[in-house]
């Protein structure tokens, strides 16, 4: 039995300013007299969205900026209404759409807990019961009777998160709230979310740009693009599809991205990157490869001023900029100098070590004697590591294969145990 039922929901906004009183009057006169009315253009933030969520499901909603994620959450939280279609939600919804919405600067932490609790629909009795827990989680015992305008922004967000997650509800709607506070508190928030999701069996809708987080927390992911559901299904499969989509979007304009790289603040202009390609063993350019495939990365540089002892570097990072591996040329390639003109470098990878997913390449050039950076850019080229059979991927494998070997030993059962 679905707990959330979204049926053919469309949400339109009108573009542009609200009409002035004059225009409103003119429009109604025109409408009455049957003359054409000057209407503002509608914009479909959501276009015929249709899905349902079962009780206990944890659903991630991902998509690019402007895909309609937040609009969808607003409709589910009953803050806005759909232009057409219907949304049915059984049970109480707790929206964590922006933690700390409704915190009042002049009130103390204690007063804010009661106020915000009431706003979120927690009864006074319940807040009284949970008060210590809320304060404890936010780590604000000392400051609870201080007006929150004296709090640091981190403290305010901690308080907001702590109150919001103590709401007893059937459906939890979460919009990017995990990115709050310092690292230690983020860890705590994440653990609390995981506790709510995995152990208390709540139905959760989670919107995030952190795909890794979505992949980890959600069992099912809905990918939105320009207001429509593009795909809906297994978290890993949909996230991979999203990476692919991002990839095509980024790689559709390769020249401009190289131009951009050459103009960034780490590039002096003495050496310019003119081309970057991944090649297979037959020197054919590719953009997707298999795990452990042998590949080469080819870099075409143009030198505009003679360089002394240049050192080249290349690295692989994830799309969210975790640097995975780097190799530089200093020990392998002793170049005295590099004259003005075109130069080509290739980096040979006998066995590509990373697990299926989308990765990106960064590259840099430095002048050897002083280690002065001449060129450095990230996100130069996306490459996708694919599985032969995508359906095989049942769990998140991580980034690198852990080398090692398994062994099985039959436990030696001595006869005496049975005596």
């Amino acid at each position: 039995m679905p707990i959330i039922q979204v049926e053919h929901v469309t949400k339109e906004y009108k573009l542009g300013q609200l009409t002035s009183l004059k225009q409103t009057v003119l429009n109604s006169i025109n409408r009455l007299t049957g003359r054409p009315v000057e209407e503002r253009k509608p914009f479909k933030a959501l276009d015929d969205i249709h899905f349902s969520v079962d009780e206990g499901e944890v659903v991630g909603i991902i998509g690019h900026n402007g895909a309609g994620k937040s609009t969808l959450l607003k409709l589910l939280a009953n803050i806005a209404r759909p232009s057409s279609g219907s949304i049915k939600v059984k049970g109480k919804v707790a929206p964590l759409i922006e933690v700390g919405a409704g915190l009042v600067a002049d009130l103390t932490g204690r007063e804010n807990i009661y106020l915000n609790g009431a706003i979120l629909g927690i009864s006074k009795k319940e807040i009284g019961r949970k008060f210590d827990e809320i304060v404890g989680f936010a780590e604000l015992e000392e400051f609870i009777d201080t007006p929150i305008k004296r709090y640091s922004s981190g403290m305010q967000v901690r308080l907001g998160f702590s109150i919001a997650t103590s709401v007893e509800s059937d459906v939890l709607i979460v919009d990017e709230v995990l990115a709050v506070g310092d690292l230690a508190f983020q860890r705590k928030c994440f653990d609390r979310m995981e506790d709510l999701i995995k152990r208390q069996g709540k139905t959760v809708l989670l919107v995030s740009h952190n795909i890794r987080q979505v992949e980890r927390l959600c069992s099912r992911v809905i990918l939105l693009n320009k207001g429509s559901v593009v795909s809906d299904g297994n978290a890993n499969a949909v996230c991979t599809q999203f990476y692919e989509a991002s990839d095509t979007q980024i790689s559709s304009s390769p020249t401009s991205s190289l131009d951009l790289a050459n103009k960034n603040e780490c590039a002096t202009g003495e050496i310019l990157l003119r081309g970057i390609e991944i090649l297979d063993t037959e020197d054919k350019p590719i953009n997707s490869l298999r795990h452990k495939q042998a590949v080469k990365i080819r870099l075409d540089y143009e030198v505009t001023q003679e360089l002394r002892a240049p050192v080249f570097g290349i690295g692989i990072h994830t799309t969210d900029f975790i640097y995975l591996a780097t190799q530089q040329s200093a020990k392998q390639l002793k170049l005295e100098k590099l004259g003005i003109g075109q130069h080509r470098l290739t980096f040979d990878i006998p066995s590509f070590p990373f697990m299926p997913g989308v990765y990106s390449i960064r590259a840099g050039v430095a002048e050897g004697s002083t280690s002065r950076t001449l060129f450095y850019a990230e996100n130069l080229l996306h490459l996708q590591v694919v599985l032969e059979n995508a359906e095989d991927r049942i769990w998140n494998d991580g980034l690198v294969e852990l080398s090692g070997s398994w062994a099985y030993t039959q436990p030696k059962i001595s006869e005496s145990t049975y005596d």
Binding site: L18, I79, P95, I119
Partner: protein
């Protein structure tokens, strides 16, 4: 309309907390604090007394200062309930964009908040009555009904005004002008008896006099203020004839005002 009663009960705790927040916030970091609720009518009374020394207003058997103070007690309650009700939705835009609860909570809370200040004002009125040696009679039992009447009148303005204010901020700008107009049209500075005397007894406007008096009493505050003075100071029951036109008008307009609010409500988050 039954929805509003259900919500009133379901969200009473939220409204109580929001009202408490409004009061705490208003007087936090202010030296005189809640005394301001009393200072405003007192200053106005002083101004009216100066005015009266020039033009001469007959206040009947009741001393003029306490007569106007009594009028101002209920007038300020109405005026501030209405104006804060109108700006309540726009003023809580941050909540409206993030959290759902029935939006009528905002205008309702504004009115409830003002009840506290009314209470303080009544307390001072009781003190003044003791000072002038005016003893309350059983007629004082009308008080809750009169306050309810003022609340309904304020809500009639607040519902439609706050909804319109979301689309056109002109409303909150125009409202003070409208309200001060209503004040001069209400027996705040002068007693209703003067108007009654001019129009009904002396027939000052000829054959139009009775009609004009009905028009005057269509203002819900006209009869209400007079009734409030009756039950507190004169020991008389409310003048039903003076109250009826305004009360009927309020009861007719309030449902429309509320329905308009409920219809506009679903777009608040998109527009505000």
């Amino acid at each position: 309309m039954t929805g509003i009663l259900k919500n009133l009960i379901e969200y009473r705790e939220l409204m109580a907390v929001l009202a408490w927040k409004n009061i705490t916030l208003r007087y936090k970091q202010s030296y005189l604090g809640i005394l301001w609720a009393v200072l405003k009518p007192i200053v106005l009374v002083l101004i009216f007394m100066v005015l009266r020394s020039f033009v001469g207003i007959d206040s009947g058997a009741i001393p003029y200062p306490i007569l106007t103070y009594s009028a101002l007690t209920i007038w300020i309650f109405f005026q501030e309930s209405a104006s804060e009700g109108v700006s309540s939705v726009v003023g809580n835009a941050n909540l409206i964009r993030k959290i759902y609860f029935p939006r009528e909570v905002f205008p309702l809370t504004s009115v409830i908040t003002k009840l506290v200040e009314l209470g303080i004002s009544l307390f001072i009125l009781a003190g003044l009555m003791a000072w002038y040696g005016i003893a309350p009679t059983w007629q004082i039992l009308w008080l809750p009904l009169l306050v309810l009447n003022a609340m309904l009148a304020a809500l009639t303005i607040a519902f439609i005004g706050s909804a319109l204010n979301v689309y056109y901020r002109d409303v909150s700008t125009a409202l003070p002008v409208l309200l001060s107009l209503i004040m001069y049209m209400s027996p705040v500075i002068y007693p209703l008896a003067l108007v009654k005397d001019k129009l009904l007894i002396h027939q000052a406007a000829g054959e139009w006099s009775n009609v004009l008096y009905t028009v005057f009493t269509l203002n819900p505050l006209a009869g209400l203020i007079d009734a409030f003075q009756n039950i507190t100071l004169r020991g008389l029951p409310p003048d039903a004839a003076a109250m009826m036109p305004g009360l009927v008008l309020t009861l007719v307009l309030l449902p429309f005002s509320y329905l308009y609010f409920k219809r506009a409500e679903s777009y608040f988050a998109d527009v505000v």
